[in-house]
Symmetry: C2
Subunit: 142 residues, 2 copies
DNA sequence: TTACTAAAAGACCTTTTTATCTTTTAGTAA
DNA sequence: TTACTAAAAGATAAAAAGGTCTTTTAGTAA
């Protein structure tokens, strides 16, 4: 469904939110280990997320990644647009240059509703709503 | 949605079916040009499809690609499994090693129905049904 | 202010995907 | 049987994705 970068960012951010709720600011070594992702690659990705303002980080002793108090929830869509652009969410399933309802490909009628459902999912769900769901069910992240 | 290989194979096969219906066996140069795909790459992909038995081809003058008379329709699923394996059709949306209904990720409840819809689409639609839809609407392939 | 800690930055590497080109082989038609 | 045609095969390569490692910088705590 999504590429590795999106997956690692998604799992990483959800883990950060989860730990923040417990009053902790996890560091990259811990995050990577817990979400079973390559440490340095995940670091690079999360650093990019910080630059984009999706999450914050603090250097030095006691530092780590965290979400600012009062920051509003982050829809998955925002993340996906940064990691893979809009092709996943708006592209034609048949590979045409663009999906054009006026001149639909033979997959359009069947595929468009599915793509709509995906769009609804990623605009409704947020990093925070996923984290909350984890807290409720208290499952592992793997 | 799908990768380039799948897209080129899909568009190529639909084009072949479309031309077959008109009593023609298109060659690779024509196919690539019509579906706006890189010629040699498309050739390689279609040759693989021939080896897999999804389509047939004939060398020499008057040769080209074609579907055997009486061959049964090819569901898109069959093509996708060959070009990208089952990850697209059965993988976990959150990137867990596998989607496990007993131990679902926080996306599972929302994502599983969408994945189901995709599976239904690719097992119901075939190269032939897509080609027929084109014939009916007489649209271009781009 | 020192020692330590953790992220930031960026160079570097590997694998996979996507793409191109040349040579060979097999077939057709005349 | 010759000339031609078109796919088959496979070497090569560019680009993108995925991943690793080292050095630097900024911050904290004691
Ligand atoms: S035109 Fe192909 S999905 Fe809309
Ligand atoms: S467990 Fe993630 S989609 Fe089913």
């Amino acid at each position: 469904m999504f590429n590795k970068e999106t997956e690692y960012a998604l799992r990483g951010l959800v883990y950060i939110q989860l730990q923040n709720t417990n009053g902790r600011r996890p560091g990259i070594v811990e995050i990577a280990k817990e979400i079973e992702a390559p440490q340095f690659y995940t670091a690079k990705i999360l650093q990019r997320m910080v630059k984009l303002g999706l999450v914050s980080s603090l250097k030095g002793k006691g530092g780590g990644f965290y979400f600012e108090e009062g920051k509003k929830d982050i829809p998955l869509e925002e993340l996906i647009m940064q990691t893979e652009g809009n092709k996943t969410l708006t592209g034609c399933g048949f590979g045409l240059k663009q999906c054009d309802c006026e001149n639909p490909c033979p997959l359009h009628e069947q595929y468009a509703p599915i793509r709509e459902a995906i769009n609804k999912l990623v605009s409704t769900e947020t990093i925070q709503s996923l984290a909350k769901r984890y807290t409720l069910k208290s499952k592992t992240l793997l």
